[in-house]
């Protein structure tokens, strides 16, 4: 149902007691910076903006290789919350090398399985924000592909 890398991450989190789940989320959040674009990388789409749903600017960068597989990079402003940082690292890793269509069709119910019920509250709804942004850039890519095909 989920991409294998993401499924493995979900299974890991579901196996962890609450304290270790928090530690692992923090560890992923620490690694969010590694998802930033690297020198020389070129992207087919870039979407950098600040929305009302998030406390700071979030940038999403998409590259699609010649096999049609997506690769994501992300930039996060300093005010972005820890859970959002964690989800950034998790999704960039878990969705790597899936097609944009697969990403777009991904259900969002796995997010609470990773984060756990205790950490989901109204003011932490931004845990869904990163997935929404990643799906958004995939939709733009697919829309452009379709337009190019009919043009």
């Amino acid at each position: 149902m989920y991409p294998p890398k993401l499924e493995a991450i979900i299974s890991l989190f579901e196996s962890l007691p609450e304290v270790e789940r928090r530690e692992t989320l923090v560890s992923y959040a620490d690694n969010a910076k590694k998802q930033e674009p690297r020198p020389g990388e070129v992207f087919i789409l870039e979407d950098v903006r600040k929305d009302e749903e998030c406390a700071d600017t979030v940038g999403v960068y998409l590259q699609v290789d010649d096999q049609g597989k997506a690769h994501f990079r992300m930039t996060l402003g300093p005010e972005v919350q820890t859970l959002t940082r964690a989800m950034t690292a998790i999704l960039c890793k878990g969705l790597d090398r899936r097609t944009p269509q697969e990403v777009l069709e991904l259900p969002s119910d796995f997010v609470t399985r990773i984060v756990g019920a205790e950490l989901v509250r109204v003011r932490s709804q931004t845990i869904y924000y990163v997935l929404t942004r990643i799906k958004g850039i995939c939709k733009v890519y697919l829309d452009r592909q379709r337009m190019a095909e009919v043009a």
């Binding site: 923090v26 959040a29 406390a55 820890t82 509250r121």
Partner: protein
């Protein structure tokens, strides 16, 4: 303490980072971090600080209310706090949740409370020590408070309505857009389930941020007096009610009015706009 805080009505309620860094391990002091970012404490905190979560530690898990007195005693006991412990609160968002936690401690009658001026952001920006080590303190037997000080420092919806009808001071600390009814959520935040926008009739708009400097420290006593005493006409002894959306930003203003300006009879309407904006037939002004 810093020089500006000595002009405050209760300078003892503020500590600055220089002072705290020298007193991290003092007996009788407990540093308490309280944040909006649920995992922020886990990413690093002031050495020796314990974490108190505004939702899971201070609020009842079912009813929209605070924990019962016996739960408060348990919370303090497991964090090594006694009635004589001086709790120094700090956190993110310029100390919103630190002030909220401090106010909740006052609800249960804990008197020795202070705020770290500038909060977590300034401490970190100054390059002061942080750790991920979670401290363990010997448990205490904090006595169960025999009452909660709701009447003194907390306002309920009917009391906010009475305040409005009587023309007594009501301070709306939300953003101007929320006050005017143009938006029903904080800028940059998700909608938290409010059906109507606007403000309580007669409330004055003084956003919480008016009380702080860019580095999240509080403005000087003179500046605060100009804003709240000269600008809003607040007077010592007059009943004043402050509110926001869920009571955390207004806790910040409650701290300013109560401890920094020394006003008495200031109450925090913690039901705030998420209650008022959903309440059937509650009067609302816009613009």
């Amino acid at each position: 303490m810093n020089t500006t805080s000595t002009q405050f009505a209760h300078p003892e309620a503020l500590v600055d980072a220089d002072w705290l860094e020298k007193h991290l391990t003092d007996d009788g002091v407990r540093i308490v971090e309280s944040n909006e970012d649920i995992l922020l404490y886990d990413t690093g905190h002031i050495p020796g600080a314990v974490h108190i979560d505004w939702r899971t530690d201070l609020q009842d898990p079912v009813i929209r209310d605070y924990i019962a007195p016996d739960k408060f005693a348990e919370l303090c006991s497991r964090n090594g706090i006694t009635p004589d412990t001086t709790c120094i609160f700090y956190g993110d968002k310029a100390n919103w949740w630190a002030c909220y936690a401090l106010w909740a401690f006052r609800l249960f009658g804990h008197e020795k409370v202070k705020i770290l001026n500038g909060g977590r952001d300034k401490w970190k920006a100054d390059g002061r020590p942080m750790t991920r080590e979670v401290p363990k303190y010997p448990g205490t037997n904090y006595p169960v408070p025999n009452r909660r000080f709701d009447k003194e420092i907390r306002a309920f919806a009917d009391e906010a309505l009475a305040q409005s009808k009587a023309g007594k001071p009501l301070i709306d600390v939300r953003s101007p857009g929320e006050y005017k009814g143009e938006i029903t959520h904080m800028p940059e935040y998700p909608q938290e389930g409010v059906l109507r926008g606007g403000h309580i009739p007669g409330a004055k708009s003084v956003p919480w941020k008016t009380a702080t400097n860019e580095d999240s420290t509080f403005k000087s006593a003179g500046e605060l007096a100009k804003i709240y005493l000269d600008g809003c006409g607040l007077k010592p002894g007059t009943d004043t009610v402050v509110y926001c959306r869920i009571g955390e930003r207004s806790s910040h203003t409650w701290f300013v009015l109560t401890y920094l300006l020394g006003l008495e009879n200031v109450r925090n309407y913690d039901g705030s706009w998420t209650e008022w904006g959903n309440k059937v037939a509650a009067p609302i002004e816009r613009g």
